[in-house]
């Protein structure tokens, strides 16, 4: 690991100023991706701006049918939060399946979505639930937030402070694990809003999380597993690697979507795998 300077701001505005003042500075939240990269000398920031002391970026609340989660909230906190479990239990369950216990105790929701790892779970929830990403400067719709491999709409120095999730009528996330990393080889989040809008977000399969309109339309018409079973997915944009080629991922997307629909349709499915 290379040497760096460590700074701990108390507000998001202060953190943004520090990031803008130092070109090679990086914000660190849970550090579950950045620290390994630094140890492997793949990242060498001049400054680490530690966000853990920023109180305004923590915690969960529900207001007007919207669940808001502070960006510095740890996966384990989301997983066991009674607020989250009551509002969007599928989201709490998603958080409980990220990484391992150690990762969940360190990793944060804001860090995960700002990192936009192609195989991370949280991006699927943000996109699949139609959330809004909040920064000190603006509100960014989920559909505009994830733009590429480890790339988001965030501008230099811009921090995610909160994520606002509209509470759906029902939702479920199903992850098929890559055998080695146990990240999502393919992960699918399905939601149906109170007005009947269906969103299907897929992670792990491409450069970044994406929606699948053909599956959404089919499920809007009929929210059953059978509605998506025979829908073919175009392989062109899908990843191929030693754990699965694009054909396999394309096959898994409707399979997992059907399972997520099935899971979301079961009133007693919460907490069961």
């Amino acid at each position: 690991m290379h040497m760096f300077e460590y700074l701990q701001p108390r507000t998001a505005i202060e953190a943004e100023a520090l990031l803008l003042a130092n070109e090679e500075a990086r914000a660190i939240s849970g550090g579950m991706s950045l620290l390994p990269a630094m140890k492997l000398r793949l990242a060498a920031p001049s400054h680490l701006i530690d966000l853990s002391g920023i109180e305004e970026m923590r915690g969960t609340s529900v207001d007007d049918n919207v669940l808001t989660i502070g960006a510095m909230t740890r996966h384990a906190e989301v997983a066991r939060s009674s607020v989250v479990r009551q509002a969007i239990p599928g989201l709490a369950a998603l958080a409980s399946g990220i990484g391992d216990r150690q990762v969940r105790n360190r990793g944060t929701i804001g860090g995960s979505i700002a990192n936009s790892d192609p195989a991370a779970c949280y991006p699927a929830s943000v996109l699949g639930l139609g959330a809004t990403v909040m920064t000190p400067r603006r509100r960014i719709a989920a559909d505009d937030f994830f733009v590429g491999v480890f790339e988001t709409a965030l501008e230099p120095g811009e921090l995610v402070t909160h994520i606002a999730f509209p509470i759906p009528e029902r939702s479920a996330y199903v992850k098929f694990q890559q055998p080695a990393s146990r990240f999502a080889l393919v992960g699918v989040l399905v939601s149906r809003s109170r007005d009947g809008t269906v969103r299907v977000a897929v992670t792990g399969a491409s450069s970044h999380v994406f929606r699948v309109p053909s599956l959404e339309q089919a499920l809007a018409a009929e929210f059953t597993p059978g509605a998506v079973e025979n829908i073919a997915i175009d392989t062109e944009e899908l990843n191929s690697d030693i754990h699965g080629d694009a054909d396999y991922r394309a096959h898994l997307i409707p399979v997992l979507t059907a399972r997520a629909v099935d899971l979301a349709s079961k009133p007693d499915a919460v907490g069961k795998i």
């Binding site: 599928g90 029902r170 080695a180 899971l263 349709s265 069961k272």
Partner: protein, 826 residues
């Protein structure tokens, strides 16, 4: 995890043989207080960073380390030309295999640091020594190496193609050896008489052992005494010393002390002399500083010996009733870029002689080509050759049963060597001293409810799953090894083991053993033996291991040998203690030595009430006032070098039951049932632990682990745990382990056979046979390891029309294994 057998423990002595004594060593391990090599802090120490080749195959056209040498904190930078200038030697292979024509194998030079050419990604090219590891890494970036890349070859069969790139100029055709065993003519005759011949091509995949503790080395040179101390995480300190001194650095052995303290797992990968051990010992003297190095996990992937990597064609000849008539096996074994310490022996003598398995197959012939490639050297890993033998034999049997319409368990039963035939000489040399193979098979088949299989398959189909059950009957030559057997087969190493029991004046006993526990529990089990045999309280026995300065000699721990050979040495040393104790007791009690007998730690004289405890005898031996000094030396300290007369043959049956989700290809293990014969059991709890861990590693190879090299560039694509899939607890069912003790080893005093590798030897085969059983119902009859989801799905896709679908009543999410579902519904 797992269930303990309900069988009553056999031992009667508290903390003695046969008791599940809790492990002495666990207190420090569980509290994080183990003393590992990397924990050492030596005053004046410097850090070493090894610069490794980024190319699979290249000539080094220039190497400029001048800027690195003057970088901040750098002590020195050593390169291949420095090594040559010092006139030092190369790393040897300790087995010299002969070709079919009687000539010896090719042994190209293996320098610890490249001298002109690199032959795999990870080959060492420079050693940076600095005050801190970060400084060493910073300086490494300043070393300018110019490479002339050469074409690389990574797969064994590709390496022996006519146009293949040549890895070593002195190994034409990349051939290290072309070896054979068995009676070719008799086997061909058996095939000519066969009713049916089953042919099968299998790949035994390449894996990285990955013990939890990475390799770690600390080297110290004392220039006043001209002595070296090498702390290294090895399974075999005396071997490291011998090879390092004699073959490589040419230092007298008494000038080098090798210490291997607590070691966090070995599995065979730490029983070799490694380049880093040479480089650090050399560097410690060159720069006059203690030096240290610990592999990071990326280096583990690039520098620990890999394992398996066999491409094998097998043929089984059968009679019309399924009787095995003959077996032919032809293997290309990928040895990697250089010969590692044991590597030539692994696919040959450690593997092929086991091809008879548990069966009466009368004619067997095997040939093995060992080939060089531009990959990490390949060597021993848990089972070392025997899993490969088991895999081809048991896969062939299942294939034969399918082809002939015979039941898999029944065809095995028909061919098992009956217990009445013991001792049984197999056609390839091994002579099984004992074993009741039928008993283990019946136990396992019964416990696994083999009879109810068809019903369970139907139930799984209703749930949209393909259920399969796989059987693997294994036997392994363990308890390595009779020294003569080593010598006959080209070994340049003995196979005996040393034990010394040193009583202290207070009656406590220190046991010195040349074996090495790196997780096995020797501190506990060896103390159990001494307690049982000599009546010394368990707490009054201490084990010393892993230090060439304290232990006379040893062959470390490999090949399930510690109990069978190391434990036997302790027993014999104990017998010598008792023999001397009797003479001391006879003198003090003033009786004839013939009238003294020893039991439960006490010397008693027949016909009198005279009794002395062994502690009193020890006291008398160290305070020899009333003592037969005219007949014997004072002291109570006996040593035994035990050379076994035969291998031991642990055996048993493993049965795996699993379900495949045809929609995703995910394989979920449902049950894993084993019945083992390890001879006498010294500590049931530890035996269970060994079996559990062994199964996990076999399952890992079958379902998850595999090394992938890019065929063109020779780059290692699975160089971290992000891409190399290790088995985890959630991948495994609760193991159902049982054993019988009715066929003890006949030729060692403990009757033990060894249990360290058994789990691994049978498990990969049982899993793959189960995978194929599940898939054969839809027409898939072949698959190589690993049975990963995408590979299983791809194999099944060819048979899509036959795939089951869940019935309406069964849930689409019933059983999801790898899949994690999280729902929200109102």
């Amino acid at each position: 995890m797992g269930t303990m057998t309900s069988k009553r423990e056999s031992g009667t002595v508290p903390n003695g043989i046969g008791r599940s004594v809790k492990r002495t060593e666990d207190a420090r391990f569980l509290l994080g207080k183990g003393r590992y090599t990397d924990d050492l802090r030596i005053p004046g120490q410097a850090y070493i960073y090894v610069v490794r080749s980024p190319h699979a195959h290249a000539n080094i056209t220039s190497l400029d380390a001048s800027e690195a040498k003057s970088a901040s904190g750098v002590v020195d930078v050593l390169i291949g030309s420095d090594y040559l200038d010092d006139g030092l030697g190369t790393l040897p292979c300790i087995w010299q295999v002969r070709n079919k024509n009687g000539s010896v194998m090719a042994e190209p030079a293996r320098y610890p640091v490249a001298v002109d050419r690199v032959r795999y990604v990870g080959d060492a090219v420079a050693v940076v020594i600095a005050e801190t590891l970060d400084q060493a890494k910073d300086a490494a970036d300043l070393i300018v190496v110019e490479y002339e890349p050469l074409a690389a070859v990574v797969a064994g069969p590709d390496a022996i193609m006519p146009q293949a790139p040549i890895v070593h100029n002195d190994a034409p055709g990349n051939l290290c050896f072309d070896w054979e065993i068995g009676n070719r003519a008799a086997t061909e005759d058996a095939f000519s008489r066969a009713h049916h011949i089953t042919r099968l091509d299998v790949i035994n995949s390449r894996i990285v052992p990955n013990p939890m503790e990475p390799r770690s080395v600390v080297a110290i040179y004392d220039d006043i005494a001209d002595e070296y101390t090498l702390h290294t995480s090895t399974q075999n300190p005396h071997l490291v010393r011998s090879l390092l001194c004699k073959s490589v650095l040419r230092i007298p052995e008494h000038k080098v002390r090798v210490v291997s303290a607590d070691v966090g797992g070995g599995f065979g990968v730490k029983c070799h002399l490694y380049p880093e051990e040479v480089l650090l010992t050399w560097a410690a003297r060159r720069c006059g500083r203690p030096v240290r190095w610990t592999a990071d996990r990326s280096e583990t992937f690039l520098s620990d010996a890999h394992a398996r990597d066999h491409v094998t064609h097998g043929e089984l000849a059968l009679d019309s009733d399924g009787t095995f008539l003959g077996l032919r096996v032809s293997t290309v074994a990928n040895l990697g870029a250089y010969l590692s310490t044991w590597s030539a022996s692994i696919p040959t003598y450690a593997s092929a002689p086991n091809l008879a398995g548990q069966y009466t197959t009368p004619a067997i012939y095997a040939e093995v080509k060992g080939v060089f490639t531009n990959t990490v050297p390949v060597d021993a890993y848990r089972g070392a050759g025997r899993p490969e033998a088991n895999y081809i034999v048991e896969r062939l049997i299942d294939a034969a049963a399918r082809e002939m319409g015979l039941d898999r368990v029944e065809i095995r039963r028909r061919n098992l060597v009956p217990s009445a035939a013991m001792p049984y000489a197999t056609p390839l040399g091994p002579v099984y001293d004992s074993g009741d193979f039928r008993k283990c098979l019946d136990m396992a088949a019964g416990n696994a409810d083999y009879e109810g299989l068809a019903e369970r398959k139907q139930d799984a189909l209703r749930r949209g799953k393909l259920l399969g059950l796989g059987v693997s009957c294994y036997i392994e030559a363990c308890g390595v090894s009779p020294s003569r057997a080593n010598g006959i087969s080209g070994g340049r190493i003995g196979g005996f083991e040393m034990a010394e029991i040193r009583f202290n004046p207070d009656g406590s006993a220190t046991v010195f053993s040349g074996t090495h526990s790196h997780g096995q529990g020797h501190e506990t089990v060896f103390a159990q033996i001494v307690t049982d045999k000599l009546g010394v309280p368990f707490e009054s026995v201490m084990l010393v291991q892993g230090d060439t300065a304290r232990i006379a000699f040893g062959h470390g721990t490999v090949g399930s040998r510690s109990a069978a050979v190391g434990g036997s040495a302790i027993v014999v040393a104990g017998e010598r203690i008792v023999a001397k104790g009797k003479r001391i007791a006879a003198h003090i009690m003033e009786v004839d030595v013939e009238d003294v007998h020893f039991e439960d730690g006490e010397f008693r004289s027949r016909g009198t009430n005279k009794v002395m405890t062994i502690a009193e005898i020890a006291h008398a031996a160290y305070l020899p006032i009333n003592y037969p000094l005219d007949q014997m030396d004072p002291g109570l300290d006996e040593i035994c070098f035990y050379d076994p007369t035969n291998f031991t043959f642990p055996n048993g049956t493993q049965i795996c039951e699993l379900e495949i989700d045809p929609q995703t290809g995910h394989v979920e293990l449902k049950r894993f049932v084993v019945a083992d014969d390890f001879g006498r059991i010294l500590n049931p709890m530890i035996v269970h632990g060994q079996v559990h861990g062994g199964i996990a590693q076999g399952v890992g190879q079958a379902l998850l682990e595999t090394v992938v090299y890019d065929a063109d560039s020779g780059q290692l694509l699975t160089g971290s745990f992000m891409d190399y899939a290790m088995p985890r607890s959630c991948d495994l069912p609760s193991f159902e382990v049982s054993y019988h003790e009715d066929s003890p080893c006949t030729h060692n005093p403990l009757g033990v056979k060894g249990c360290g590798e058994a789990g691994t030897i049978g498990a990969a085969t049982a899993v793959m046979n189960a995978v194929l059983d599940a898939m054969s119902s839809v027409g898939v009859d072949h698959m190589d390891m690993p049975a990963s989801p995408s590979r299983v799905w791809r194999a099944l896709r060819a048979a899509t029309s036959k795939l089951p679908r869940p019935t309406a009543s069964a849930s689409a999410t019933a059983g999801n294994g790898n899949q994690v579902g999280n729902a929200h519904g109102e």
